[in-house]
Amino acid sequence: MIEKPSPFKSRPALWAGIIAGGAALATALVMALYANISERKAEARQISFKVVDLDERSIEPALWAKNFPRQFDAFQRTAELTFTKYAGAGPNPKPISKLEEDPRLVTIFSGYAFAIDYNRRRGHAHMLTDQRVTGRVTKVKQTGSCLHCHASNVLAFREVGLKRGAPGSLDESLTSTHGQAQLLEGLEGISKMPYDEANKLVDHAVACLDCHDPKNMALRVTKPAFISGIAALASGDAPVPHLPSIEKWRMGDRSRPYDPNQEASRQEMRSMACGQCHVEYYCGPKATLFFPWNKGLKVEQIEAYYDQYKFSDGHRFFDWKHPKTGAEVLKAQHPEFETWSQSLHARSGVSCADCHMPYIREGAIKVSDHHVRSPLLNISRSCQTCHRFPEEQLKATVLGIQDRHHALMERAEEALVQLISAVEKARKSGLDEAALAEVFEFQRKAQWRVDFINAENSMGFHAPQEAARVLGESIDYSRQGHVALNNLHQLASRSPIPSSPSTSAPSGTSASLSRVPSR
């Protein structure tokens, strides 16, 4: 027994044991892999399970959560206190005050509710609760118009509409003729109610029903002023190349008004759903809430519409009369949709949701992230899908745009505040409103432009070049106002016969700027 036997022959039991154990382990692993593959396949096959029936009365998001738990989980996270360098309300439960951050705004909004209380914005989940406590509604009388965008109000609008005699019932789809009639009638009704009364009709911040059809989850728009506003935009002639369905509708017979719920593509709806609220509008007591889009979406097109708009008493449109100067000025809301419309991103077909609700993958399921927030907090999914550059580089690019924009905006605000102070001084020195009419126009124009950009949430990023253009115009109008005022002073100080060539109102040359009275 000197020759070595083969190992298997000498200890067959050991080897058979090893093979058996190995095969058992390998089988277990294969079964685990199979389970994993089956799970992924199942995820891909069915992305939602219908647990409850949803209809046009299903306002409660927790109900929708039973069918769409992934979207709901993210949706709830909008309550988190997220913030970036320029946006979001900061890490504390008490939001950062824009008025404390930038005291110029107190002068600019003097005499208007925004001078009382104006904070940086928090996430969607806070929209209703934050509005209920702001000094703008507790210290000033407001109408129910505020709720057009600060609450989930589809149901409230329709119920009020039905009470006011609109046809049909709640069983009909919102996008049906009757549904639309109820919605528009409801807007009339709620806009006339005092804020506190209208407030009792709503319980939720923006909810699923506001953007989704309960029957098939398709995107839809439900805010009546958007539906009227976008139809007015379509029937005008301002070019809107970033909204191809409008251009297409214009080429048709125009027998029916443009209806985004029928005409717009899904990609357009991914912006329009947001554009229902993130826009400029009039929500004061002197007219029913409307979007001023008849002449287009640019700052001067909206201004032109306001300038020719007459209230029912025949007076030209204005938001309030500035008490320091006497000028009838405009207040911008938050024109994100309008600003985005002027951007290269919009022109390239990039929607709001592409950056603010980018797709996320969970297993084999792709869902859009309902935790709506700044793309700066989610660069890999928001930006890198198209821009294949390192995250740090992209972030630096955005912050570079925002920093430059912020510096220019501060200059524009400074110029306006200087104009307001100079006019205030001129009023005290005896110049009356009639004499200052031309200067008031400059204040109105300058103020409208800088506010349009300040109220817009992106610190210039949504359309950097457009934002800079608007701020440049604002500075120019403030300085033109100075020049006009200066000419008035010269006229007043001279003999009754003004003859000097310098009184022929130059438009903001550097020579005339040097004579601007200092604050």
Binding site: A23, T27, V30, T385
Partner: protein, 169 residues
């Protein structure tokens, strides 16, 4: 002697058990392979690339891209000069993809790795070399976009970004 006989019987039983278990492994393994459409990965059919859903956007994009009529996934993403190299790249990508998708531990958006970028560039030139000779004389790839060299897209597709996967939006 009694112990030797019982040892032998135990060994015999173990061998039967081992055979059964090996059989079970082959059976379940084969079943899993079939269920996961394993054989499809040996083909050139683009549909195989969307078996696992990660590539759905890329596949949908390709269907709208200008190369749709002329090149499939493998025409661009696998080396074509010989079968051995082709299957080596296919196997190494397959291993990495299946590991990533099973463990769900990869970063998104997914990016082409430098070695695959070279393969891709080679395939651009495989068809378009004559026309691009003057441009590519000094090389096309090579400028790393990150200091670590982990992203490298300075090839043809840096500019011709939508020929393969269609317009971005």
């Amino acid at each position: 002697m009694r112990t030797a006989v019982s040892t032998q019987r135990a060994a015999g039983l173990l061998i039967v058990l081992a055979s059964l278990l090996v059989g079970a492994f082959v059976g379940t393994g084969g079943f899993t392979f079939a269920a996961a459409k394993g054989a499809s990965y040996l083909s050139d059919d683009p549909a195989a690339c969307v078996n696992c859903h990660i590539m759905r956007d890329h596949y949908d994009g390709w269907r709208q891209g200008s190369h749709h009529a002329h090149a499939t996934c493998n025409d661009c993403h696998l080396p074509q000069e010989n079968v051995l190299h082709k299957f080596y790249v296919k196997a190494s990508n397959g291993y990495r993809h299946s590991k990533a998708f099973t463990l769900q531990n990869f970063a998104e958006p997914i990016r082409i790795v430098p070695s695959n970028s070279k393969v891709l560039e080679g395939n651009c030139l495989r068809c378009h070399a004559e026309m691009t000779d003057a441009i590519t004389a000094h090389g096309t790839l090579g400028v790393a976009m990150t200091p670590a060299g982990s992203v490298d897209l300075h090839g043809c597709v840096r500019c011709h970004v939508d020929v393969g996967h269609g317009p971005r939006r």
